[in-house]
Amino acid sequence: MVVISALLVQAVQMVTVVLLAPLLTGFIRKVKSRLLRRQGPSVIQPYRDILRLLRKEVVLAENASWLFRVTPYVIFAVTWVAAAIIPTFATGLMFSWTADLIAIIALLGSGRFFLALAGMDVGTSFGGIGSSREVMIATLAEPAMLLIIFTLALVAGSTQLSTIAAFMTSPQVGLRVSLGIALIALIMVAIAENARIPVDNPATHLELTMVHEAMVLEYSGRHLAMIELAASLKLQLYISLIACMFVPWKLAVLEAGLAAYLVGLLAYLAKLAVGGTLLALFETATAKMRIFRVPEFLGAALMLGLLATLLLFVSRSL
C-alpha cells in the first residue's frame, strides 16, 4: 500500500512539475512586465511558445553531429528527473529513496556538460563563447552548491531531501546562522544556474552578451522546445529546492489523506508565486554585471557556503 501511494505521489509530482514549469516562467515574465509598466504577454504564453516550436520543423546545421540532436532530450530528461526528486507538495516520493541532493547536482551537471558540448558542436563562434562562459560559471557554482549541501547535511544529518524537509519542520531545528548563510548562498547559486540577471539576461537579443542563450542559438523546432521546457523546469526546480529546504511548511507526508495533499499543493503554488515575484523584483532593480564580475559574485557564494560549513564545526548549534 505504501509503495503504491508513493508511486502515485511520484507520478502526480512528475506531471505537476512539467505542467507547472512554463506557467512559472510566464508568471515571472508577467510580473516583470507589470513592474516595467508594460502589459506583458499572457501568463500562458510559454505554453503557446512550446506548442508552436513543437509544430515547427527543425533546421539543423549541415555539420551537426548526433550529439547536437540528442542533447535537447538528454537535458530535458535529466532536468525532469532532478525536478521529480524534490518534494514539492508531499514528501515520501518513490524516487527520493534512490537519489539525494548530490544526485540532483550530478544530474544538472551532466545536463550542463551536454549543453556545453552541443554549443560547440556546430562550430559557430557564439556557441563557443556561450559554452566557455557557461563552464566558467559552472566551475564556481557547483562547488558552492556542494558546500551548501554539506551545511544542510550536517544540520539535518542526511543529504536525502525528505529527511531534510522533515528535520526542518521539526522543533529541534531552531534559528541557525549557518542556515541563513546557506540560504543566501543558495539564492546566489540559483540565480547563476538559471542564467538570470545579474549573471545572464534571459530576455536579451544581444548575441555577444549571452551565456545560456548563446549556447542554444542554433537550436530550432522541437529541439528548442525541449531546451526551453528544461530551462523552465530548472528554474522551478531551484525555487522548489529552496522552498523544500527552508520553508517546508504544509508539505504532506505519506498517506496523509487527500485534504493534506491539496493543502500541500496550494502551499506549493503560493511558494512558487512568492519566489517568482521576488525574482522578478530583484531582476528589475539590478543591471547585469560585467562577465568578469561573475566569479566574484559566485566566489562570495562559495565563501558563504564554506563559512556556513565551518560554523557547524565550531558549534553544532550555530
Binding site: 513592474l35 516595467l36 509598466r37 508594460r38 563562434s125 557564439f126 563557443g128 563563447i129 566557455s132 540577471i197 545579474p198 539576461n201 530576455a203 536579451t204 537579443h205 544581444l206 548575441e207 555577444l208 552578451t209 528589475t284 532593480a285 539590478t286 543591471a287 547585469k288 554585471m289 560585467r290 562577465i291 568578469f292 564580475r293
Partner: protein
C-alpha cells in the same frame, strides 16, 4: 602656420558658391592642405568627388572659418588625403566606389560601399558594367597565439540596421574590431542627380530616418544659401523647434536603450514613455511623429497653431518634471554605473583628429556644436549651454545626452515663448544660372554637412550629404580595443552611429 582664409586665397575662386568660398587649387596646395589637416590645424568636414573634380571641405575651429578646396587636374588620380590624415580613408574608398576617382597612394584600396551587388560600377561616374566576379572582402589580418575571430552580423538578433563586425579576440578581450558597412546603400546621391528641389528635399529627409528633420533642414539651408534666399523668420524658428524636438526624442530613446543593453530595462521603458509623449506632441503640432517632410527649401510646410503649441508646452513641462527622477535612478543604480563607467574609452586626441561631433565628441572633450560655432538663426538669439566632458566613456556619453535633454527642454520653451508671427515660407524664384551652396546643421548625432549644385533648370546637379557617423564609426573601432566582447553592445549603443546615413 597658414590660416585657412589664406589657403582659400591661393586658388581660383568659384563664382556662386555660398555661404563659404570654394576655390580650385593645384595639387601642391591640395597636398599642403592635407599635411596641415594631419597636423591638426583644421578639421575635415567632408570629402567628396565628381567625375572631373574632388572637393574637400575644411573647418578652422578657433576662428570658425570654413572653406572648400577643389582639385580638377585628376589625370592618374588625386593625391590621397588619407595617407596623411586617416579620417579621410573611408570617404576616399567611398569616392572610388561611387565616382571611380582613383586616389594615389591610398593606404587601403579595398572597396567600401560597393559590395559588388549593384549591377554596375561607379554609379555617379562612368556607370560601367560590373566585373564578372568580385573577390571576397579581405578583412585585416590579426596574427598571434590564441586569437580567434567572431563574425557578427550583418543581420543581428535584434531589430537594428545591418552592419558586419569582425572581432578578433583573445578570450573575452577584444584585440581588433573591423567594421564592414554599406549594406543599406540606397543610392541617394545618384537619385539626387536631376531631381527637382521638392523631390530632392524628400530624398534628403530619407537619408537617416532618425535625423529626417536635420537632413531636410541642412538640405534646405544649402539650397537657400545657393539661391541667396532669406527665409521668413517664423519659418527659421519653427525649423529649430522641430530640430530640438527630434534631438529630445532621440536622446531620450538612446538613454533608455543604453541602459537596456546593460540589462536594466526599467530605464528603457520609462524613457520610452517620455520619448513617445514627445513624438505624439510632434504629431499634434506638425502632423507627423518624426516630422518627416515638414521642412522644404524656402520655409516649412506646416504652421504651428495654438493647439500644437499647447501640446508641445505640455510635453516639455511633463518631461521636465519626470526626467530628474530617471536621472537619479541612473545615477544611483550601482550595478548600472559599474557597467557604464570606464567602459569604451575614447581618447580626446582621437575625437579631435576625427572631428567627431555630437555626444561622442563632447564626451571626449571636443565641444564643437554648429549651433554655437556658426550661430545660424534662431540659435544666435537663444540661450543654451553645450555640455562637455573629458572622460570619454559610456557614462560620459550618457551624461552628455542627459544634459542635452535638459537644454532641449529649455530651448523648446524659449522658442515657444519668442516665436515670431508671419509667413512660414516663400516661393523659390527662377534660378537663372548654376549655383552652389553648402550648409552645416547640428543633428542629434552631430553636424550634418550638405553640399549641392543647382543647375539653371532648377534641378539638382550634384548633392553630397555627409552624416556625422562617417567620422564616428572609425572611433568605435578604437574605443572598443581592450574591452571585453560582452561590452561591445553597450559601447556600440552609446555611440549609436547611423548605418543608413553612412551607407547613403
Amino acid at each position: 602656420m597658414q590660416a585657412l582664409a589664406d589657403l582659400i586665397l591661393e586658388g581660383r575662386p568659384v563664382q556662386h558658391h555660398r555661404p563659404w568660398p570654394r576655390t580650385i587649387v593645384d595639387p601642391m596646395v591640395w597636398t599642403s592642405a592635407t599635411v596641415a589637416l594631419a597636423e591638426g590645424h583644421w578639421t575635415l568636414l567632408g570629402l567628396w568627388g565628381e567625375t572631373a573634380a574632388i572637393h574637400m571641405a575644411l573647418l578652422e575651429e578657433p576662428t570658425g572659418t570654413i572653406g572648400v578646396i577643389s582639385l580638377e587636374e585628376l589625370e592618374g588620380g588625386y593625391p590621397s588625403v588619407a595617407q596623411y590624415h586617416p579620417p579621410a580613408l573611408r570617404p576616399e574608398r567611398a569616392i572610388h566606389d561611387l565616382v571611380g576617382l582613383v586616389s594615389k597612394d591610398l593606404p587601403d584600396p579595398r572597396p567600401w560601399l560597393d559590395h559588388g551587388r549593384w549591377g554596375l560600377r561607379f554609379p555617379l561616374g562612368d556607370r560601367l558594367p560590373p566585373p564578372p566576379e568580385t573577390a571576397p572582402y579581405a578583412f585585416l589580418r590579426s596574427e598571434g597565439d590564441s586569437l580567434h575571430q567572431i563574425p557578427v552580423g550583418p543581420v543581428h538578433a535584434g531589430i537594428i540596421e545591418p552592419g558586419h563586425f569582425r572581432f578578433t579576440a583573445n578570450g573575452e578581450t577584444i584585440v581588433r574590431l573591423e567594421e564592414r558597412l554599406g549594406y543599406v546603400h540606397k543610392g541617394i546621391e545618384a537619385l539626387m542627380v536631376g531631381a527637382s528641389l521638392d523631390r530632392a528635399v524628400q530624398l534628403a529627409g530619407r537619408t537617416s530616418g532618425d535625423s529626417t528633420v536635420t537632413y531636410a533642414y541642412a538640405f534646405s539651408r544649402a539650397v537657400e544659401a545657393a539661391l541667396q534666399l532669406e527665409v521668413p523668420s517664423r519659418a527659421g524658428w519653427l525649423r529649430a523647434l522641430m530640430a530640438e524636438l527630434e534631438r529630445l526624442a532621440n536622446h531620450l530613446g538612446d538613454i533608455g536603450a543604453i541602459c537596456n543593453d546593460a540589462a536594466f530595462p526599467l530605464m528603457h521603458t520609462h524613457c520610452g514613455v517620455l520619448r513617445e509623449r514627445a513624438l505624439r506632441a510632434a504629431d499634434t503640432a506638425f502632423g507627423h511623429r518624426l516630422m518627416r517632410d515638414r521642412i522644404k527649401p524656402g520655409g516649412v510646410i506646416a504652421d504651428l497653431d495654438h493647439e500644437g503649441a499647447a501640446a508641445l508646452r505640455a510635453v516639455a513641462t511633463e518631461i521636465g518634471q519626470t526626467f530628474p527622477a530617471l536621472v537619479e535612478l541612473y545615477d544611483n543604480t550601482a550595478s548600472l554605473q559599474d557597467r557604464t563607467v570606464g567602459t569604451g574609452m575614447l581618447r580626446p586626441e582621437l575625437a579631435h583628429q576625427y572631428g567627431a561631433g555630437g555626444y561622442i565628441g563632447r564626451a571626449s572633450g571636443r565641444g564643437f556644436d554648429v549651433r554655437r560655432a556658426l550661430g545660424y538663426p534662431p540659435y544666435n538669439s537663444l540661450l543654451f549651454e553645450i555640455p562637455v566632458l573629458h572622460e570619454g566613456d559610456v557614462n560620459a556619453r550618457v551624461w552628455i545626452r542627459i544634459r542635452e535633454v535638459e537644454q532641449c527642454l529649455s530651448l523648446i520653451a524659449q522658442i515657444l515663448d519668442q516665436l515670431p508671427a508671419g509667413p512660414v515660407s516663400i516661393d523659390i524664384p527662377d534660378i537663372g544660372e548654376t549655383r552652389e551652396g553648402m550648409a552645416l546643421v547640428e543633428g542629434f548625432r552631430g553636424d550634418v554637412f550638405v553640399w549641392l549644385r543647382v543647375a539653371e533648370s532648377g534641378r539638382i546637379d550634384r548633392c553630397h550629404l555627409r552624416d556625422p557617423s562617417w567620422f564616428q564609426w572609425p572611433l568605435l573601432e578604437a574605443a572598443i580595443e581592450d574591452n571585453i566582447v560582452a561590452d561591445f553592445p553597450l559601447c556600440n549603443k552609446s555611440f549609436n552611429c547611423s548605418y543608413s546615413g553612412h551607407d547613403l
